[in-house]
Amino acid sequence: MSGTVAAVRRRHNPFAGAGRIAAHRIGNFLAFLLALGLIWQLLVTVFAIPRYLLPPPPAVLAAFGGHGGAILQAAGFTVLCTSIGMVISVVIAITLAIAFIASDRLSRALMPLIILIRTVPMIAVAPLIILIFGRGPANSIGMVALLTFFQIMLAAKRGFLSPSPNAMEMMHTYGASFWQIQLKVRVPFAIPYIFTGLRIASGSAILCAMFAEWLSGAPGLGMLILESYSVQDFPLMWAAVLTSTTAAYLFFTLTLAMERLVLDWSR
């Protein structure tokens, strides 16, 4: 009964489902932060952990207050670079996945190379990317795009190939055209796969952008961590770490909510 009501309401407002997921996950995260803070304080007190190893939570909170502007600015830079990198990566990945589906020969020529390249941890290439793209935001964007590209491309390819021959044949017997079959069978089948790839990639994307900043000195969270460490401001360092973890979590939540939105919209 309540399920029907929810379904009807969702049809009126496609944002309801996505909003619910986001609210639920953010609530969970706040509860997690609270628990983490308590355990953290307990550990620091019980084991008398020195400040340079792990400063107590109040000191970290104070760092948030004292350097709020700097943290926000750094986080904004990192999140912006990550988002642009992911968008570029998604566009190229899906285009290439479609090309691979369309041309078997292309797939056979390039897929083995892609699988080989995938065995290389992309962060190891970071110095080269910094050399090519310079020390500004471009190298963070390039790193994020490079790191997330493979996961999203492979997921999209798997998704486009996932409809069973039965489903395609069923559409064929109803007289659907080639493009109708692609649009009504392949694309809907692929959407969950693409979002799975996005989800996996989104978790590591921010960390990757921070890595690039850490090496290049671009003014993001990674640089903030390095700077605060070099001036021995450990509360600020942990504040930046917490911010990066939060940003990664929110990024992950955003992809979940978007997936829900797209699915609700298409139903």
Binding site: L36, Y52, L53, L54, R105, R108, A109, L110, M111, P112, L113, L116, T119, V120, P121, I123, A124, V125, P127, L128, I130, L131, I132, G203, L207, M210, F211, W214, L215, G222, I225, L226, Y229, M237, W238, A240, V241, S244, T245, A248
Partner: protein, 253 residues
């Protein structure tokens, strides 16, 4: 015969791409940051001794850290398999540590242990540990329910169940984890060197980057990629040798 064709096509594409880069670089069409492949190879050949001087400590840290991670992951997975209530705790701690960015853990480790070999090993081991642990644990839990019922029916002891059922079922999963972790071990060693070291492939790359020595940087990156790809293929080879039943390879990947 079809096997040969499967290799020839991508290999020729690769060769063509290299050739295109070469010609473009010689014609001066590429930016100065893109080195000609022939120049990179020549540079590597003439600096062979220096490259090995830097590669050696990196390999040492990567291999040792990787082996340490395997041992720890196996012990931890066995412990969690035997003492089931531990699973949630270990998984939570693991996920938290795994989600703290390495660039935040590294400084703490440096404060703790200094710029030393143990610090570099710790970073490498932490990076490799979690993927192996998760795969092995998943593998230990992978025997189908009827196989577990069979061992119950045969009144097998817990040790027999572990040795004859759980471990063989976990073996293909172990290799899934090792394939993820082997390239990560190289990465771990590089990151450890980036936090501060005097020798190592990571140091070589970073110095080349800051000094804008294009050919040196390309050779360093190429070497790092080649080493990770070889590590991956070495694990595949071990898998081929230890799992003779081809149907069980690459499970769950």
């Amino acid at each position: 015969m079809p096997d040969v064709r499967r290799v020839v096509l991508p290999a020729s594409v690769f060769a063509l791409a290299i050739l295109a880069f070469e010609l473009a670089a010689r014609a001066g069409l590429t930016p100065v940051t893109i080195a000609a492949p022939s120049a990179v190879l020549a540079g590597m050949a003439s600096h062979g001794g220096l490259l090995w001087y830097h590669l050696e400590p990196t390999l040492l840290v990567a291999v040792t850290g990787f082996l340490l991670a395997i041992l720890l992951a196996l012990a931890l997975a066995a412990l969690v398999y035997v003492v089931k209530p531990l699973e949630t705790t270990v998984m939570t701690i693991g996920t938290v540590i795994d989600s703290i960015p390495m660039i935040a853990i590294a400084p703490v480790l440096v404060i703790w242990m200094g710029l030393s070999l143990p610090m570099r090993l710790t970073i490498t081991t932490i990076i490799c540990l979690f993927p192996i642990f998760i795969s092995v644990l998943q593998g230990l839990k992978s025997p189908p329910s009827t196989a577990n019922e069979l061992f119950t029916n045969l009144a097998a002891s817990p040790l027999q169940r572990f040795r004859l059922l759980a471990i063989p079922y976990a073996l293909p999963y172990l290799f899934v984890g090792l394939k993820i972790a082997a390239p990560l071990a190289i990465l771990g060693a590089l990151i450890a060197e980036w936090t501060g070291a005097e020798r190592g492939l990571g140091v070589y790359m970073l110095n080349a980057m800051f000094g804008l020595r294009v050919i040196e940087l390309w050779s360093g990156v190429f070497l790092a990629c080649a080493v990770s790809a070889s590590a991956y293929m070495l694990v595949c080879l071990f898998e081929l040798l230890s799992i003779t039943d081809s149907g069980r390879r690459g499970v769950g990947s």
